[in-house]
């Protein structure tokens, strides 16, 4: 049972990290300032930019192969209260990586989680979801509706 709880919590944390990684640095900074979240933390690593090699699968689902590289910026921070937060995000935005790592650390503190969720993660998630939905609806408008031309008697 404890194991299940820990796994659920890991999934939640992963979803938070995904939201931060997908959001723009501008959006994170704006919400951060509006929420007045603390941006002091000890930098344990980075922020630093490097590469990851992106892998695909042969035929879509077969053996993995290397497609090419992507820039990634990472940061690891420790709060005064001890929580360690990480961020790895595509791109070269160091401020974003640092803030996202702090957000990950704050989220792990049960007394701060709610604030991070409601003031930062939820609005970011809503913006991402609405952008995704818009993209999906725009694509759906280009879906081909086939119809059959009936010719002759029967």
């Amino acid at each position: 049972m404890r194991g299940q709880e820990a796994r659920d919590q890991q999934l939640e944390r992963k979803a938070v990290m995904a939201t931060l990684a997908q959001s723009t640095g501008d959006d994170i900074v704006r919400l951060w300032n509006e929420a007045g979240l603390p941006s002091e933390a000890e930098l344990l690593r980075g922020p630093e930019t490097g590469l990851v090699t992106v892998r695909g699968r042969i035929g879509g689902g077969g053996a993995p192969f290397n497609v090419g590289e992507a820039t990634v910026t990472r940061a690891t921070v420790r709060l005064a209260s001890g929580e360690v937060g990480h961020c790895y995000a595509l791109g070269r935005d160091k401020q974003k990586a640092k803030l996202a790592a702090i957000a990950d650390a704050l989220w792990q503190d049960p007394t701060r989680r709610n604030e991070v969720e409601t003031k930062l993660i939820a609005p970011l998630q809503a913006a991402l979801a609405s952008a995704r939905e818009r993209r999906r609806a725009e694509t759906a408008a280009t879906k081909v509706d086939f119809f059959t031309m009936v010719r002759g008697e029967d």
Partner: protein, 370 residues
Amino acid sequence: MYVAVKGGEAAIANAHALLADRRRGDRSVPALRLDQIVEQLALGVDRVMSEGSLYDRELAALAIVQARGDMIEAIFLVRAYRTTLPRFGYTRAIDTGAMLVERRVSATYKDLPGGQLLGPTFDYTHRLLDPELAAGGDVAEPLQRASETEAMPRVSAILAREGLIEPDGDMPQDHVPGDITREPLEFPMARDIRLQALSRGDEGFLLALGYSTQRGYARNHPFVGEVRIGEVELELDMPELPFAVPLGTARVTECQMVNQFKGSAKAPPQFTRGYGLVFGQSERKAMAMALCDRALRATEFGEDVVAAAQDEEFVISHSDNVQATGFVEHLKLPHYVDFQAELDLVRRMRAEHDARENGGKMEEKREAAE
């Protein structure tokens, strides 16, 4: 004796200053911003990302401006930049089945789950230049249509149900994917390494080779089983975390080419496949890659290797446009000493040739006189 010649430093510096001036062009025209290039020359940016083998839109846009729009020069700049960064690791393999699809068409099935989604395509346009674009008019927002989130399985999965198509390409369990950025090319090579080389290969080169297979050089009856373009999530395993870290999303283009195969001693009659996967929206490149991938599998299927597109060493050794341009363009660098040596050699050979000719003529005259 060796004589070193120095010089040209001032000329080079001035040439680079002139390049900077010409790159900027007429100062009364506003300078391009990178976001303008990212937004409005997006497919050029995608090509630089794909062949530069680095997913980073702003860097690709910077490279395009710095290279004055010379794509191969821009690709070269991006490749050089890559080497300055440390590598954090390899992502988990992306799942194109879970893609947020922006375009998806199949030439083999009309009614496939998820449907035919044309997306932002040049297909069916009339290829007429649009003077309104030159005038810079406003562009209407695209239409939206409510849609249920439908699963969009890859077309290969549909054919697989009947057992009439070969499965996705597998490798032995213990096979570690090869990496051409770490190890030199060796022939023959495994399909995974070939695909890495093709994915960063020159679009024009692969397009010409793919075209050659259609025209009868290594004919293999292709159909586009599916082309899909959209965003996929990237994840990286990190030792400090118990789960794969989400990195964000990247746009890729995937092509599943389906090829007729009449069977051989090695395999029953079935459809075989060529696979293409490239960064960005680049379906011509993904299709050309898939055609080349299939052609290069000739020996795997016991087909005769008779055409350039089937020759692995030929295709892979010449597909990289940074290598190609380096070797071709180096010819314009000073070769004064080499050429001096050749000049001496040709002068000597010519003198010997002339002597032989003249000697022969004298001989003829003597014979005629006798």
